[in-house]
Each structure stands twice: as structure tokens, then as C-alpha cells.
């Protein structure tokens, strides 16, 4: 399974997008392949709530959606809003980033400092785990 993580300014912008918007059907994001409204944050930028003692994450701005597919979809991979393309099985198996990360504007960054939630069930966080 190949996950294509897309970042838009808003959900409305995603719906209006010629490529991503095709996955918005019958008034909803296609539930079989889309993981909409995900949150992405930096693990090295969390804080602690002094009252509750709990870790507080600070989601990065924007509206994220992952679109899963059996193979790489060039229209999504090459889209300027695509921030990451991940081979889910390769991610689960570990190994070099060149096999796990297949594209996206974030591919060259320190991915280990990012987190994403919720994940597709059965997937590992492509940005690392706590």
C-alpha cells in the first residue's frame, strides 16, 4: 500500500483541487482509501501541560489527507501539494529511507522529528514513533 500525504490550506481547497477533489464523492471523502483531516506535528516541539502533566502536541498549520493506493499514483506523487509518499509495507519492515520514502516535498527533511495521527490501521508512523 502506497500512502500519499497531501497538505492543503483548507479542506475546501482540497475538495476544489482537480486531483485530490476526485476522491470527494457523494459529499464525503472516499472512506475506503482516504484518511482525511490528519494532524501533523513535530515531536521536538511538544510542551507539557503544567496542570495535567500531559504532553501537548502543537499541530502544524494546514489540512492534511492521506490517500492510499495499491501503487504509486503519479498524479498524486507529482502534485505540488504532496508532502510525502510512503511505501507502507516497506515502512513496517524498516530498511533504508530510499525504499520507504518514494517522494514528496518533505522527503529530504529530518522526518524523524515529525508525527502524524491518526494512522491507517496497521500502518507505522512514517515519521517515527515515540
Amino acid at each position: 500500500m502506497i500512502d500519499h500525504l497531501m497538505l492543503f490550506d483548507s479542506e475546501a481547497q482540497a475538495q476544489a483541487d482537480a486531483v485530490a477533489g476526485a476522491y470527494f464523492v457523494d459529499g464525503a471523502w472516499r472512506g475506503d482509501v482516504c484518511f482525511a483531516a490528519q494532524q501533523v506535528w513535530r515531536a521536538d516541539a511538544t510542551t507539557v501541560d503544567p496542570a495535567a502533566g500531559a504532553t501537548v502536541t502543537h499541530p502544524l498549520p494546514g489540512w492534511y489527507i492521506t490517500i492510499g493506493a495499491a501503487g504509486v499514483l503519479p498524479a498524486l506523487r507529482d502534485h505540488p501539494r504532496c508532502v510525502l509518499v510512503v511505501d507502507r509495507e516497506a515502512e513496517a519492515a524498516g530498511g533504508p529511507a530510499s525504499r520507504r520514502i518514494l517522494g514528496g516535498t518533505l522527503a529530504g527533511e529530518d522526518l524523524g522529528s515529525y508525527r502524524i495521527a491518526p494512522l491507517p490501521a496497521g500502518a507505522r508512523n512514517p515519521f517515527g514513533t515515540d
Binding site: D32, C34, L119, P120, N125
Partner: protein
Amino acid sequence: MFPFPPYLSRPLWVLPGASVDLDFINGRAWGGGMDALISVSRASGGTGLLPSSPPGAAYPSFPNNTARIVPGAGLLVETSRTNVLRDSAAPATQTTETLATGAWTLWVNGPGSAAVAAGSATGTGFGTATNGSPVTFTLTAAGSVVVTVTGSLAAFQLEQGAAGSSFIATGAVAATRASDAVIGTGALATAYGRVAGTVYAEYGPIQLNAANRVIGSNGPVSLINVNTVAQIIAMYDGSVSLSGPAAPLASVNRAAASWSPSGRSIVANGGTVGSDTRPRGTPGTLYLGSQSASIQGLMGYLRRVAFFPARRDDAILKAMTA
């Protein structure tokens, strides 16, 4: 050599006259192999552990894009849900991230309990869930809740909705099970596309829901809809809904619908047949257990589906479902 009479090659378990018969309970198909008759899209794993499962029950796990067929139960079809609890297969007390307003359900599996209380959220209906007794509460202001675990639970799940769905294993963060989009292909799609025909479906248990599709399509046309809240079974041609009898939901339900250019009929559980003189509408892609890839999922088991290549009499429909 004389051709082998088709009826002699038909297994005894196949419903008489059916051109396609999918017996999900026993994992067998007639009219083609199971893989040739249905195609499943679900971009996540899934499981067969339900809120009603016995404590510590062994449960199957299904990879991406596979039919969740559980022997003795049927084909599990659900829409997407997210388990917001971390490490859900090793339950421990925790405070959630911010949850949206609306109905939420907490359910557990195993000996012990999980109590849910307001953190920064505001709501009503908080309580303690035990195996087989979920708690559904309503958040009126978004925020966190605190889930306190007692005993040795094997699994727990907190999801948005008025009832729980199948178990979603999580790790350090929440996880989402994608919708099951079960599309009829091959001989099944052909049978659905006939200008006249009959469909029989057996389903249950399913969740209470205002719009569960048993046999739907990605157009507005559907053959068997169940409104388990209003207890109505219906058929929709894209503009006019044909209601069958009041259909009190049982753990196992049987429904049948027939259509031809001159009319359509629908019945459930041997009740009074509803019929009119409208055609069934232009069929779209056939979905088993949903309206489309996203909405109006059955939220339960489809046990059997059979299509017949002619419109059957109302009396036969009634007898089939009794």
C-alpha cells in the same frame, strides 16, 4: 456426447434458480469464485473483534483490500472509524487528545472495565464499560476525556458514533480503519444489471443506524435499504422510495427485492410485501453492504446474497424471507 445438464452440476447448497449465490457464512460462492464476484477496497487493516465478542476471544486480522469474511458470521462491512485510544491492545489509563462534539462509544474486551470521565471536554452520559456493555456518551463541548482502566483488559476502543464497530489496533497514536467498499464484479454485476431480477439477502447482526444499505449502488439507486431506527426496509429508484413492511431488527434478517420494467417489490422477514409499478431505476456500481465507498455502511454482517435472473412472484419473495 450430450451436454451435462446444468442442474446436475449445481451444488445442493445453492438456492434453487439462483444465477449467483454468495454464502459468506460458509465462505463459498456459486456463479464464479468469490474473488471473481467481489472486489474489496479498504486501504487499512481490519479485524473481526466486535463489542459483542466474548472476553479474550481470538479474532482474525485482515490485510488491506481483503474481504473480512468470518466463518459462521459472514462478511463484515463497516464504514470508516478511528480508535482514539493509544496502545489499544494493551489497555492502560490515559487522557485522550481533544475530541469533537457528538456521540462517542467506549467498549472493551476482557476481564475488567474502563471508566470514561470528562477531562477538558464537557458532556453527558459518562460511565463504565465492561465486556459486552459499551458506554455511549455525548460531548457538548470539545476537549479531552479520561479513560481509567481497571483489571486486565485485552482491548479497548473509543470511537465517534452511537455504537461501537470492530476493533482497531493502535500504537503510540490513534488509528483509522478505512471503509469496506465491497463491489460486485463479474457474474454478480451482470445479475444486478439485468432489466428484471430478484435479489435475496441475509444479514445481521447490524448496528442501529438510520440508513444501512444491504444492496446499494454508487448512484442513488438501491435494492435493499434498512433503516434500523425507524425499522423500515425500502428500495429506491433514484426518486421514489418503495417501503416494505415494518421490519423490526432481529439478530438475523432476511430480505428480498424484485424488479422488472413493470414494477418492483420488497419484503423482509416474511412480512407483507410492498410493491408498486415503477422500474427500479438505472443501476450504478453494485455495492454490497453500503451505498458507496464512504457512506451508509451496513455496520455488521452480510451473511448471504443471491441473485435470480427473473422477477419472482411476491408470494415467493415472502416465503423466501419467512
